[in-house]
Symmetry: C2
């Protein structure tokens, strides 16, 4: 048998199996619907081909063959003529007379057009009416045959149709939704173009989206964003595991006041004053003192800051790394460099469908980065800004404006949007940052990272100088009295990485259920 | 050139390189020690071969060639005669006269014996004195040649020695430590045997260990435990990613009172009452309503319970899964089954060094599990207990004792320590658990999982019946009004998985910095 025949036989066999198993699975459920719906109230000999599945029938009566279902995202030309079963949401319904209805069915952001046409012995007019009357976002099971229309289908991601033979509603959505997914999926460009053509389309604003986040995250762009986010974590871990790091989980409930400052959430811990960790900083360093050599953590980070900006959250996901340094802090920069280049490469190569989905609604240029990440000293940055007419304090921090300006200058000069700015002024760095050996006004900063102080006396001195009550972090400082290897590390917010890579304008777009000073729900 | 020759040449070349690069890296640091230590105060022409490295020299002056260092765990017979450089801790020092000293150096739980012998032009008597006088747990860099002694070396993991030529102290530990790693590494059996031989060895109790966790986690057993824990997370994720799950990060700060009950940490969130999530339950279900299909999360879980048992913590790492169910809750059990068998197989096959390290201090039998996990209905369990003379309420929960008894009966009858007990009585299940279609007194329980209620009316009804103020979880309940797929999932504590697998007697052993009602430090 040649391979093509074998393939065809296989598909045929699978089709039969899927038919069989689904039939077997479904049959016991399909006595004529007990409480007939208002839509199929007339006597209909074809009533078994459609209807609402009662909740009772969804409570695990019969085991399913998961292979019976095809993913909407997998519906392509190659399936032409095949019978398929899909589960998804009825995104939009449109009746054409009494004999035909179109349903756009969506699963995980992928959409396909389903056609319900009245025909003897299969589809009754009542079934067409049932289809057209589905409420948006209801969950449906659709059986049908894949067909390929002669012209391109607008408004769906898949370029095939399904000629429906059976249609069951698994769960009904309420008739009127707070937002429509169609509206929430529109790009600014579409809205502008429609406006110029005299049509005013609904624009769903950020707050409405976030108030109804369960609906908002159903858009193709949002599905893409969170699949990309998942891959960022995945590559972060896989890269670090391959470099001999181990993953740790540090406590988020800590005594005292974490790293100091006002940006701390306080709580009562069984009668003791406690707070939520502002970062895993102290405990990841303690893990290094505990001999793990190289550690990383992905976990929540809590900041009670009153920052109402497009890039601050009160809770975000920290990607944190700490490692022993043999001799030089460039060892930390080397990890940053290779980690992020590996990550960006992977996203570009493996997440193209998701990046496209994001780009359709929020157009962006691919991130520009170099094979070897540019390392720029803070003083070089200051110099570049000076030459461009921007004077900043060489021992102060960059503000948002000067940071943006420097980014622009770096892009022009070096052709990269991702670079490492290091040897930051010590004055703007946390107390646990190691002062520089040749110029104590500079420390070594990487993304948000550095070599750390591993000498307890110096650490206590620096903490005090930074206004921290040393007694509240004594177990941390004591950790360095039992022999401590030189070490360094960095931290970066997962949400910021995704925001940077996809060129998004607000960090709330990359947090599943964002928390800011005004929002703690849903 | 034959492969062996090539191999030899390569090693030779690497050795030379490593010598060269380390020499180059080190040289600028080695002016004769500025502030000579008290130990080398006499004039010593070989002073450059040892000493304390001043902190200033550790602040990133010269870049290192990381390949110059060999891991202690990699020191084997094959390196005989080779020159190596290691960094580790001086675990124990022993002088033999004035001409010889032994240092056991430990890195990540692996130990090797280093021999410092006075010899002309290389090692001075002062250097032997310096070696013998190192404080325990100090970080040292040791240069030397690997030798293989004729008899087995007791008390070190590696069966080679290093004949030391250079020895630098990178960071000095304080002279007296709260606990010694040797003491903390002893098994009960060793202590008992010594006692019978008339020697009383130090036994470090659990609280002392936890108070000095940074020292405690340096033992080989603890290093092994946390490397195993890292692999549990790794396999959990890799398995789920390969099954089309995506990783999510749900908020830990939530409005209202989470899933209700008293076991909740409360806090003030910018003037609003808030609490820490008792599990990602509500938000992972909302992610399912948001179309992600299959999701998982690894993250902290907070329980303010007053449980002072060997298996409860106030903060632990939850491994959580939620997935759409096509037709039957067995789909969730199938995932549990394959996930854990995959994980156990991997741990047995890939973590043998770590399992051995744990077993040396805490001996245990390998976990017994079946290729296909046993699924036992709750009522079957009740029947087995009844037959063994243990009467329990068939609609109540199992207590610790009956659970243990059932585990024992299952082991005897089926030869497994890992099984799924399902169809738990509904009365003992959380409000979001789907009642069973054929017997409403039972729900479907898996580890700690089940099919969930996806009908908002039923959900509100169940919440109310469980005494929960429905208004505090309205955004959660509303999520099911916009069309909700049938779904289910489960959660399990990372610390419990490791505890189960390694047969450990206390969950505090598997938490890096455990939190219980009495402990929020270090």
């Amino acid at each position: 048998m040649n391979p093509q025949n074998r393939q065809a036989k296989k598909l045929q066999r699978r089709k039969q199996q899927s038919k069989r198993s689904y039939a077997a699975a479904r049959k016991p459920l399909w006595q004529p619907p007990r409480a007939a719906t208002s839509l199929s109230i007339e006597e209909d000999p074809l009533a078994a081909n459609y209807g609402n599945i009662p909740l009772l029938d969804l409570q695990s009566k019969v085991e399913a063959d998961l292979k019976a279902w095809t993913k909407v995202g997998d519906l392509t030309h190659e399936l032409k003529g095949k019978e398929v079963l899909i589960r998804g949401r009825a995104q939009t319904m449109r009746a054409v007379g009494k004999n035909m209805a179109f349903i756009v069915v969506r699963e995980k952001g992928f959409t396909v057009q389903c056609v319900v046409t009245a025909q003897p012995d299969v589809v009754s007019k009542q079934m067409v009416k049932f289809a057209a009357g589905l409420s948006r976002e209801s969950i449906v099971d659709v059986h049908g045959v894949v067909s390929v229309p002669s012209i391109a289908i607008k408004g769906t991601t898949q370029q095939v149709e399904i000629q429906v033979s059976k249609l069951y509603c698994v769960d009904k959505a309420m008739p009127t939704l707070p937002i429509n997914i169609e509206d929430a999926s529109r790009s600014e460009k579409e809205i502008e173009e429609a406006l110029q053509a005299g049509e005013k389309l609904v624009r769903v604003n950020q707050d409405t989206r976030l108030n109804n986040r369960v609906l908002d995250i159903r858009t193709s762009a949002n599905q893409g964003i969170f699949r990309i986010q998942c891959q960022v974590c995945n590559i972060f871990r896989q890269f670090l595991l391959s470099e001999d790091f181990i993953e740790i989980h540090t406590p988020k409930l800590i005594a005292g006041s974490s790293e100091g400052g006002s940006a701390v959430f306080k709580l009562d811990y069984k009668g003791q004053p406690a707070c939520l960790a502002q970062s895993p900083q102290l405990h990841k360093q303690m893990a290094i003192c505990g001999d793990f050599g190289r550690v990383f953590e992905i976990g929540p980070v809590f900041r009670a800051e009153d920052s109402y900006t497009h890039r601050h959250l009160c809770e975000f996901t920290g990607l944190d790394i700490e490692l022993e340094i043999r001799q030089h802090y460039t060892e930390v920069m080397d990890i940053v460099d290779r980690l992020f280049v590996t990550m960006f490469d992977h996203l570009n190569n493996k997440c193209s469908k998701d990046l496209e989905a994001v780009g359709r609604q929020y157009p962006f240029e691919p991130l520009k980065y170099l094979r070897k990440t540019l390392r720029l000293k803070f003083e070089e940055g200051v110099q570049m800004l000076k030459e461009a007419g921007v004077e900043i304090d060489p021992y102060g921090d960059l503000n948002t404006e000067s940071e943006r300006k420097l980014g622009q200058l770096v892009l022009e000069k070096y052709g990269t949007e991702f670079y490492i700015l290091h040897r930051y002024p010590l004055a703007v760095r946390p107390f646990y940052t190691m002062p520089c050996f040749d110029d104590p006004k500079y420390s070594e900063e990487i993304i948000s990272g550095a070599q750390r102080v591993h000498a307890p006396e110096l650490l206590a001195e620096r903490a005090q100088a930074c206004g921290i009550d040393v007694s509240t972090i004594s177990t941390y400082i004591d950790s360095f009295r039992y022999g401590a290897p030189p070490h360094g590390g960095f931290g970066v917010g997962l949400e910021r990485v995704v925001m940077l890579f996809c060129g998004l304008n607000n960090i709330r777009k990359t947090s599943l259920f964002p928390r800011d000073p005004l929002r703690i729900a849903p």
